[in-house]
Amino acid sequence: MTTIDRPTYRIVGTRPIRPDGVEKVTGKAQYGADVRLPNLIQGRILRSPHAHARILSIDTSEAEKTPGVFAVLTHKDFPVAEDKIEELGESAVNLKELSDNILASDKVLYKGHAVAAVAAINGHVAEEALKKIRVEYEVLPPVLDVRDAMREDAPLLSETRFTKSMSGQASDKPSNIAAITRFQGGNVEEAFAAADHIVEREFTTKMVHQGYIEPQNSTASWNSDGTLTIWTSTQGAFVVRAQVAEVLRLPVSKIRVIPMEIGGGFGGKIPIYLDPVATLLSKKAGRPVKLVMNRTEVFMATGPTSGSSIKLKMAEKDGIITAVQAEMAYEAGAYPGSPVGAGAMTMLSPYNIENFVIDAYDVVVNKPKVSAYRAPGAPVSAFATETAIDELAKAAGMDPLEFRLKNSAHEGTRMVTGVPFPRIGHEECVRAALESPHYQSPIEGPNRGRGVASGFWFNAGLQSSVSVAVNVDGTVNLIEGSTDIGGTRASLAMQLAETLGIPYDDVKPIVADTDSVGHNDVTGGSRTTFASGLAVVEAAKDIQAQMISRASKLLNAPEGELRYEDGAVVSSDGSKRIPFAEIAAAQGRTGGPIYGNASLMARGVGGAYATHIVDVEVDPDTGKVTVLRYTAVQDVGTAIHPSYVEGQIQGGVAQGIGWALNEEYYYNEDGTLANASFLDYRMPTTLDVPAIDTVLVEVPNPGHPYGVRGVGEVPIVPPLAAVANAVAEATGHRFTDLPISPRRVVEELHGLA
């Protein structure tokens, strides 16, 4: 581990057992699908068999008559939705489109689009009732590929959608291109004219899914007093509340969202799919209703991230990358909102490149609406740039890591948006990669190759609130509202214990419901340990101030002569000292409960870099790529709990390997997702990834008291390109289309396509 200017901490940097761990290894932890309530009934959803069709009529009468059925729902039961944009943290959503995606109104835009719902005594009865709903469709031709959808003669998903550009002008004809954004700097024409080498490539990637193991779920109870309670697995209970309030036109105060444990999200559990349906079914049925998707529904109708098409031209002169021209088109799915902008904003961020023009197209197609997926937009744009950089390094006769180091961005380098970087750690990552045992060891044997790649992802700041209650026995309750998706109860409790100078085991964190803590934005954007951590530190300082005030009474000393230090209040001359537990015990007679709060809009985000090294072996006869060895170097700021930081990195790498080699949405021509199962979607198993070595580089973020940078997302950015670069070394063939599946490799190497 490379540590740069980092103080030594008592708790930060250690590896305690997570507070929710025992419940999770014993099966006691309650996830969304585990909710059990009196009179609970089950809902099921009818989904479109067509990828593109107009709904002419829906007849639910037979379903309603089925014994055991309590309620049937269609979009007619929804209030008319407003055409306005709601910010969700990592993404934004148009409420009309959100509402239509939850239950289709006039048109179905992808196979699997929800059209009706039933609540019944059990799931089997609900499924039987679904079969009795008659939907009349006017089937329309679907458009499935981003480049096809951009053609002028393409079938239109909406006749009223016009292209938006930065200047706000709409196109004069309806289009599937929802938006075009340009990022521009310097003069690319001059730079290309003066270049030593130019690489020009076209890249394509397919839609891929987040692949969380727990399907979406929601249980809703419409209460007799007109309030609503929702139990669900979500990355942000407050964002669920906001979306449900908007879609159903309910006052926010009447909705209570109880966040259950969440079985993975990776961005895919930010949008809502089921909650309004469960709510209205419950209202109609007069009973609480649970909806849980099956895996096919998860694949067909939630998640994925965009398929993409990127045309890239990059120039080098004297070992310096001098120009980049890119035209990138991302599939948004059924409604606008692909992460193409983030892809464009991150693709050059590891480097200092003077001249660039990037055009980013957001394009709708007859496939599910995309949602955020770990560093949304960045992995596929990095796939393009990091491939081109690899080729330019070769052309320039330089080691690929040395080439990246020479071109690295650093503090003050401007992003493509013109904003200068604060202190960042890309150079440190590349240096650590160069020095790593992996890179220092040779790669030997036939059909083997080594690849490297770098990546960048933002940190989000956003809003966090926490409360801290000090108990008379000296323990504290940490009441937070950030979904714990992989260890943040631990990382927040550790920051609290560190700041208060008390034992980690004395902190009991809970993730509270929306009635019980101030607003918190989603667990997303790699923000929770950073931003909610900031709130925790602020609340701890609030506690410290109250402790000083109470100690002043107990010690008969003026507050100005006291300071908080190592879990106690001490006088400035050191003569008097009263520990945390004693002040806590005396709180009742020194002014009442000691209770700290912090609510903030987090500033001072760090930004995260990673550089990955991978060795592969390719079987030229079968086209199979085996990952032999993997090392992921990352600037993690300060690793609060190193085990969970490593875990984030290893998990992101495994997802990236899956994306690079096998995962893809495979559509038949009629718009059927042919591989909507874990069997055929082919996520990596234990046998498909090697041990994943991590190198934690700590370049503390000056914007956080402990130097935290968000670590969760950037690990998925480099693997696609790193694997592709390794395959190129192993085979001598440059694969520019993902996945680099056995089919693609064998067809390419043997000229079969």
Binding site: H124, E127, E128, T296, D621, T622, G623, K624, L661, N662, Y666, A674, N675, L679, D680, R682, P684, T685, T686, L687, D688, S741, P742, R743, V746, E747, H750, L752, A753
Partner: protein, 290 residues
């Protein structure tokens, strides 16, 4: 899932009686295919007949002539955990150890894998190559059919109404015989064969091939027995060159389709690669056994 009756006959007589009731029946052995198919609406039945309480279907053993006789409802794990089965029929275990993951193999059976009649099933090419026979029973008696004659199309076996697959009989391998089953999957486990090859060869004293059987999976509407590949082997020396000719014959016989699991061109190419590799490994087994 549509509802159905569950029957657990204790004898074949009871099972045949249930089958003769006139209601639509499906057999339940390990359940790893049929339960999922019922759940996903891909199959329906009035009654599901659990075969696991019929003693004949739950036992296996070697007959006096060395034939391995396996009750149709014996779980795969029970077979491949038996050292004798592994030693005497390794190619069966090549298939049995890769059908699904560990939790599937605790339940899944040869009978179920065969009756599910997937063109990509792992046991089928292995059993065809091994020259296995299937014992089929009904209230009219029992009969035998070679595995290669058991399949009628994707998801369809040649079982007639009232019939139950009772037993798989795998003849013993001779001293100079070897067999291997090899499949290709994009992942390293938990996947369906993109293509597969099962082979059995027998050599004479001079390492000339005197007997051969080759079968393929996932490259036709049914598991495919390929006599032309065997013809390319018999009478020839057991060399790479000979194996490649058999691989070419196998590829010529394959009629694969393109789907989400692989392309037709990829599959044709793989057939040749897999056949050659399976033959090489079968040869290794003969040499190791010496």
């Amino acid at each position: 899932m549509e509802n159905f009756d569950y029957l657990a006959p204790r004898s074949l007589t009871e099972a045949y009686a249930a089958l003769g009731s006139g209601r639509t029946s499906l057999m339940l052995a390990g359940g790893t295919d049929v339960i999922v198919q019922l759940r996903e609406g891909r199959k329906q039945c009035d009654q599901l007949i659990d075969l696991k309480h019929i003693p004949e279907l739950m036992s296996y053993g070697f007959a006096a002539d060395g034939t391995l006789e396996i009750g149709a409802a014996v779980p795969l794990a029970q077979l491949y955990e038996d050292p004798e089965v592994r030693r005497r029929q390794p190619a069966l275990c090549d298939a049995a150890t890769i059908i699904g993951g560990t939790a599937i193999q605790s339940r899944a059976t040869l009978g179920g894998n065969l009756c599910n009649a997937s063109p990509a099933a792992d046991s089928s090419p292995a059993l065809i190559a091994l020259g296995a026979l299937l014992v089929i029973g009904s209230d009219r008696g029992t009969g035998e059919v070679p595995v290669e004659a058991f399949f009628a199309g994707p998801g369809r076996s040649s079982l007639q109404p009232g019939e139950i697959l009772l037993q798989v009989r795998i003849p013993a391998l001779g001293a100079r015989e070897g067999a291997y089953y090899h499949r290709f999957i994009p992942r390293n486990e938990m996947d369906i064969a993109v293509a597969s090859a099962g082979v059995r060869i027998g050599l004479d004293e001079s390492d000339r091939i005197v007997s051969a059987r080759v079968a393929l999976g996932a490259v036709a509407a049914t598991p495919l027995f390929v006599p032309s590949a065997a013809e390319a082997l018999i009478g020839q020396p057991a060399t790479r060159e000979t194996f490649e000719k058999a691989g070419a014959a196998a590829a010529a016989a394959a009629t694969p389709i393109t789907d989400m699991r692989g392309s037709a061109a990829q599959r044709k190419h793989l057939v040749s690669v897999l056949t050659v590799r399976a033959l090489e490994r079968a040869l290794e087994r003969i040499r190791e056994a010496r």
